[in-house]
């Protein structure tokens, strides 16, 4: 065999190795975290850990409930704020806007997505927190401003780029003939969008929202800087909360001395990984199907 062909065979083999490496990475991360969180899972049942509100690491009590509720609530607020605005902007950009405006919006969204989360966090500290504080005063609910609501607002802003860009892409994949077919039947522009475009793009848009959710769910630094970090189940949006990623970021560095604490925190990382991966997987599988069509 010619040595050109030998080189080709060898390189093809090493390509397969590279693919194997890429695929094993997900498993490796998950497995590493799982092994490290086994000590705590042996002591307490997962069910108990997730539903207990007692967080006293020094006494060996690790109840994740307040953190899970905190994460869910802050993400929910972010979604409530972000989804309507983002979807309407995506529809506007896709269906009504001049193509030049669409290009400008694309670049803006790209830049928004590129801004590091510490900068969003800093902006939150300077702008959002005082704003929420004022709002609280106005509504007669005293608050420091470091609260669920502030975290939700920042997460809403941080999740928007991905929601807007993915749903814009999805809307643009709906063929122009589909719109023409509806308009030719005498529908108004909005009716055509509602009955044809949105129906066609429904799964893709849902994936965009799920991706935004996953992004907000796992966001760490910005939330950590403004959400208050008090391990208690919050009772109002002006209360501070303590989401899982913030818990991990705040305590992971110095927990090596207490093995069980270490294990508990890595369990929270595992939970984070599993939840976010599950959502991302659903969204990407859907998007792959949309792409194929």
């Amino acid at each position: 065999m010619h040595w050109r062909q030998i080189k080709d065979r060898l390189s093809a083999k090493s390509m397969i190795l590279a693919v194997a490496f890429a695929n094993s990475l997900v498993l490796l991360v998950g497995l590493g975290l799982l092994i490290k969180s086994i000590p705590i899972l042996e002591k307490k049942s997962l069910f108990h850990l997730l539903l207990s509100s007692n967080w006293h690491p020094l006494r060996g009590e690790f109840g994740f409930y307040p953190f899970i509720v905190g994460t869910l609530e802050v993400t929910a607020i972010a979604m409530i704020l972000a989804v309507p605005v983002c979807l309407l902007s995506a529809i506007y950009l896709s269906e009504y806007a001049h193509h030049r405006l669409r290009e400008i919006a694309r670049i803006t969204v790209d830049i928004m997505a590129a801004i590091p989360s510490v900068i969003y966090g800093l902006w939150g500290v300077i702008v959002v927190v005082p704003f929420v504080c004022l709002l609280g005063k106005w509504l007669n609910t005293p608050t420091t401003g470091y609260s669920l609501l502030a975290g939700g607002i920042i997460l809403a802003i941080m999740a928007s780029p991905i929601i807007i860009s993915v749903s814009l892409e999805v809307l643009r994949t709906v063929p122009i003939q589909a719109r023409e077919a509806a308009l030719a039947l005498g529908t108004t522009r909005w009716e055509a969008i509602k009955h044809v475009v949105l129906r066609n793009a429904f799964h893709g848009i849902l994936s965009a929202v799920i991706l935004g959710f996953a992004r907000a769910f796992g966001e760490t630094i910005a939330v950590l800087m403004i959400v208050g970090n008090v391990p208690k189940v919050p009772t109002s949006v002006f209360d501070p909360a303590y989401p899982l990623p913030a818990l991990l970021a705040n305590n992971y560095g110095e927990m090596m001395s207490i093995p069980l604490y270490n294990s508990a925190l890595l369990l929270s990382a595992l939970i984070l990984l599993l939840v976010v991966s599950a959502f991302n997987m659903t969204a990407h599988l859907t998007l792959m199907r949309v792409e194929k069509r």
Binding site: V19, G32, A114, V118, V125, I221, L248
Partner: protein, 250 residues
């Protein structure tokens, strides 16, 4: 943010070498963080490019079946979406396993985990845009797969690849959560891979939390520098991909 942004004094002391800044001292700059961040991001970009390029090439249909390619893309997408704090935690586990302290190398490992999927997926998207007929033209002349990949596909995908690499670089340089436990923080510029290293995102994060106004202002300065770097990367990637696209076949 701008109204409370950096003061002139912060600029003047921004570039004091060596003993640069602390989170407690009133005087000092952020040179340590700038250098540290650049070291981290360049190191991790290089590492993830070297690891990622073969993966991106391998996703072509000449090398693996379409089904396996889809699965790989899915797992890379999942990795892309994984919160960076998870990479921080996982990177820390690896560091403990390897017996490393918080160091430049630890940070590079954690950042590589974060940047690899971004780089591979964006390079992969560009490679997928290569017209199949272009590859056919190369095969029809008797080129092997690897020759076609390196002499034709690579050149065709180059401008897009630059964008992908810079995208990952931008993500890496701004990320705080993945390097929170893995790099440590220091007032000094690192001398080796095993020294702890300061970084801009962590400088912002730590400095804004202090009660001393002078230090807080350094946080704004760090944030501004970080923002400028990230925006610059975005502009440069647009310009470069335009500059190198003259050979591209559409």
């Amino acid at each position: 943010m701008w109204c409370r942004g950096p003061r002139l004094s912060t600029y003047q002391c921004s570039f004091k070498p060596r003993k640069a800044a602390t989170t407690s001292e009133k005087r000092g700059g952020v040179a340590n963080a700038i250098v540290g961040s650049l070291c981290l991001a360049f190191g991790a970009s290089l590492l993830s490019f070297l690891l990622g390029l073969p993966i991106a090439f391998a996703l072509q249909k000449e090398y693996i079946s379409r089904r396996l390619a889809q699965i790989t893309r899915l797992s890379l997408d999942i990795l892309w979406g994984t919160p960076s704090i998870v990479y921080g935690a996982f990177g820390f586990i690896i560091m403990v396993y390897l017996g490393l302290r918080a160091s430049l190398l630890g940070g590079i490992i954690a950042l590589t985990l974060l940047m690899l999927p971004i780089m591979v997926r964006s390079i992969d998207e560009v490679i997928r845009m290569t017209p199949p007929e272009l590859k056919e033209a190369s095969y029809a002349m008797g080129a092997t797969r690897i020759e076609t990949t390196f002499k034709v596909v690579l050149r065709q995908a180059l401008p897009g690849m630059i964008t992908g690499v810079l995208l990952a670089f931008g993500r890496g340089i701004g990320d705080a959560a993945s390097i929170l436990f893995t790099t440590g923080y220091t007032d000094y510029i690192p001398r080796s891979l095993f020294d702890p290293v300061a970084s801009l995102p962590l400088a912002v994060f730590f400095q804004v939390a202090t009660p001393i106004p002078e230090v807080q202002q350094r946080a704004y300065a760090s944030a501004l520098i970080l923002l400028i770097i990230v925006l610059l990367i975005s502009v440069v990637s647009r310009l470069l991909s335009h500059r190198y696209s003259r050979h591209i076949i559409r």
